[in-house]
């Protein structure tokens, strides 16, 4: 496969350096509890990506569970008075 590295991109930015990618990957690493707590610099980039996928999926599952819980609560709560309390405590 011929290398296209010399051609500048549509965005006008020159070649993407490995440093840039490493920087972005390390930023991601900070967001993932699994890896962040291990404090190891030796986490490979592909491991970070993998853990990122797992983490996002677990967040999706949490949203699902919370939606389920909220839909049940909606039916049984007097939402108007609860909402006033919520707004007060969450936003002020």
């Amino acid at each position: 496969m011929s290398s296209r590295r010399s051609r500048s991109g549509q965005t006008g930015s020159s070649r993407i350096t490995d440093d840039q990618i490493a920087d972005l990957v390390s930023k991601l690493q900070q967001l993932i509890p699994e890896i962040r707590n291990r404090r190891s610099d030796k986490v490979s980039a592909s491991k970070v990506l993998q853990e990122t996928c797992n983490y996002i999926r677990s967040l999706h599952r949490e949203v699902d569970d919370l939606s389920d819980r909220l839909s049940e609560l909606l039916a049984s709560t007097d939402t108007d008075s609860a909402q006033a309390a919520i707004i007060r405590s969450l936003l002020m």
């Binding site: 496969m1 290398s3 296209r4 590295r5 991109g9 070649r15 993407i16 490995d18 840039q20 990618i21 972005l24 990957v25 930023k27 991601l28 967001l31 993932i32 980039a45 592909s46 990506l49 993998q50 990122t52 996928c53 983490y55 996002i56 999926r57 967040l59 999706h60 949490e62 949203v63 699902d64 919370l66 939606s67 389920d68 819980r69 909220l70 839909s71 049940e72 609560l73 909606l74 039916a75 709560t77 939402t79 609860a82 909402q83 309390a85 919520i86 707004i87 405590s89 969450l90 936003l91 002020m92």
Partner: protein
């Protein structure tokens, strides 16, 4: 309430999300049908989930690819499904720009998986994908925290 979760900035993403989502919950709650079949429970759960994702996406607005993708998908459900099936067949035949192979050592398998999980991920170059993913994760965390707080408050 945990003070560090409170946002004092009224225009922050967290605040916007909270307000929009609460409004949506009220709307969903007021949709009482005359009869309540068991399907209604599932419908309601679906509506809450969609409202949560839509509220977060609109709180972020159009400045992020992932939020645009979610908003577009929700507004164009039918067209979206047709597009996804078409995209899956053409994507396999499209030659990826070699510049995207930067970070070859990073492992294409997981990058592809990440593209599927992050909304709008298929069309991004690798660097943008990483940046969008970081922002997406932060917003998902906010979404989960607020939803949990609301559920806890409704439970009391």
């Amino acid at each position: 309430m945990n003070p560090q979760n409170l946002s004092l900035n009224p225009t922050s993403i967290r605040s916007k999300f909270t307000k929009t989502f609460l409004r949506a919950l009220t709307r969903i709650n007021n949709r009482r049908p005359p009869i309540s079949p068991s399907r209604e429970i599932y419908q309601r759960y679906r509506r809450v989930k969609i409202a949560a994702d839509a509220s977060m996406a609109s709180a972020v607005g159009s400045r992020r690819t992932w939020s645009r993708a979610i908003l577009w998908k929700i507004r164009n459900q039918r067209r979206y499904r047709a597009l996804v099936s078409r995209r899956i067949s053409t994507h396999a035949m499209t030659k990826r720009d070699p510049r995207e192979n930067y970070g070859r050592e990073v492992g294409h398998g997981s990058a592809d998986e990440l593209r599927r999980i992050v909304p709008g991920g298929e069309a991004m170059d690798f660097c943008s994908l990483l940046g969008e993913t970081a922002h997406y994760i932060k917003c998902l965390n906010t979404q989960v925290q607020v939803m949990r707080s609301i559920a806890d408050l409704y439970s009391t």
